[in-house]
Subunit: 83 residues, 2 copies
């Protein structure tokens, strides 16, 4: 069966986010003074084959642990749907 996976990789809340701070500064420069905080993360969509949804979920979690996220400083969330 064919599945689609949506993966969000975000910096843990206590980790400094220089990219987010740079975006925040640029937004202020552009006149968007009302913005108070920006955090930047990654959003990945994967297409994969698996026997069933739990197997697909386990595979994607394993991909996050081994490659997609640096779990020392990042968290990840995965959503699997059949396509």
């Amino acid at each position: 069966m064919r599945f689609s996976a949506q993966v969000h990789v975000t910096l843990k809340p206590t980790v400094n986010d220089p990219q987010g701070n740079a975006v925040l500064g640029s937004l202020h420069t552009l006149g968007f003074e009302s913005v108070e905080a920006v955090r930047v993360g990654k959003y990945l969509t994967l297409a994969l084959d698996a026997a069933d949804e739990p197997t697909a979920k386990a595979q994607v979690d394993s991909m996050c642990e081994r490659l997609l996220a640096n779990t020392v400083i990042e968290s990840y969330e995965t959503v699997i749907s059949q396509t």
Copy 2:
């Protein structure tokens, strides 16, 4: 009022995604042969002040148009929630 905005910025479907292709190759090398496609995008969370939700939505859409997304090759989706 204080709002939280979730912004997804993704490459348009017809645009080549070298970063996604690199991730796909690495996943295959790691043994995840069942993955068929990977697309990599950005996921931003913003905290901002606005008078009401439509105003917040309009502001965030404007930020996407002017800074957060390159609308020639990228699409964006925004979700606003009150915090």
